[in-house]
């Protein structure tokens, strides 16, 4: 089973990289970009039937830093777990 994890900074946590990219987009002439936030995407092949509970633990214990980040788990067979 393919699983895609999106790790994103929590709302309100300053994102210096996003801010720098936002600035660069503006200087390239792209108008109308309101905000840029940069996160991380992790794709995993896991055993079929791996439970949501186990996937959540992987995120909480290693893949995301819960002090600053949120995660969303997307199963690429079409099911999507709410963030």
């Amino acid at each position: 089973m393919k699983v895609r994890i999106l790790v994103r900074l929590k709302p309100g946590v300053l994102d210096p990289q996003g801010r720098a990219v936002h600035h660069s987009l503006g200087s390239l002439g792209f108008a109308g970009v309101e905000d840029v936030r940069i996160g991380r995407m992790i794709e995993m092949d896991v055993a079929d039937g791996t439970s949501d509970e186990v996937l959540n633990k992987m995120c909480e214990q290693l893949l995301a830093n819960m002090v600053i980040e949120d995660f969303a788990i997307e199963k690429l067979d079409g099911q999507k777990e709410p963030a």
């Binding site: 300053l14 210096p16 990289q17 830093n65």
Partner: protein, 234 residues
């Protein structure tokens, strides 16, 4: 000057990618007169009866995923957490501070510097706490100079955690001229029992005579002397 002790036992943990481990060992040896025990990240156990455990700077495991994240899950960290819970003093510097936050031994997280740049220079710090083994020889409000060298030194914690750190007098050092965006200018924090200190500045790089500012000054040596004097006496 710290009195040389025949019994002081300190350890330095080396991860793949650590690069300040030798400096830390040399600094500890220079003050204590005792060889520092070198511990490899894959070791499952720590030496017994340690007076001080140190996590050095560098780029453990290449800082993959997040700075300090992989090291925080390595076998030796389970032993470090257990030792800290028994009251063994722990000093984490730079990457070592990042490992301490990732492991949960200290609150908060160290994010990318707001200016995006890697910063390597000597900075002015204000001593904010003198109730720990590491800080007791300083005066509250005293200014000291210690080098920093980091890309991810921007201390973040939520407002209630920051308030709690201040209420409990657990901020050890603050930047006088904030170089990296750290909230409330935090450069170093202590655990609730004051036995664990994480700090971004490198005391082991400020071991020279005070007059030799180009060698980082001597304020780092004072921190290490504080720790060794108070921990030997304990």
């Amino acid at each position: 000057m710290a009195s040389r002790s025949s019994s002081f036992k300190a350890a330095v943990i080396t991860f793949p990618g650590s690069n300040c481990d030798r400096d830390m060992a040399v600094a500890l040896e220079a003050v204590s007169g005792q060889p520092a025990i070198r511990v490899w990240h894959g070791d499952a156990d720590l030496p017994g009866n340690l007076d001080l455990l140190t996590l050095p700077g560098g780029f453990s495991y290449g800082d993959y995923l997040r700075s300090g994240a992989m090291a925080a899950k390595s076998p030796i960290l389970r032993a470090v957490v257990a030792a800290a819970e028994r009251g063994v003093p722990v000093l984490g510097v730079c990457n070592g501070f990042q490992v301490l936050t990732e492991s949960g031994l200290l609150p908060g997280a160290l994010m990318r510097n707001t200016g995006q740049a890697y910063i390597c220079r000597t900075v002015d710090l204000e001593v904010a706490n003198t109730s720990s083994p590491f800080t007791r020889g300083f005066a509250v409000g005293e200014h000291i100079r210690v080098p920093i060298a980091h890309h991810d030194g921007n201390y973040f914690a939520d407002q209630s955690t920051l308030d709690q750190l201040e209420d409990e007098d657990r901020i050890a050092f603050r930047y006088l001229d904030n170089p990296n965006g750290s909230l409330r200018n935090i450069a170093g924090v202590l655990s609730a029992d004051r036995r664990v200190l994480g700090m971004m500045p490198h005391p082991e790089r400020a071991m020279g005579p005070a007059a030799h500012a180009s060698m980082g000054g001597a304020d780092g040596r004072r921190l290490i002397e504080n720790a060794i004097e108070s921990l030997v006496a304990a």
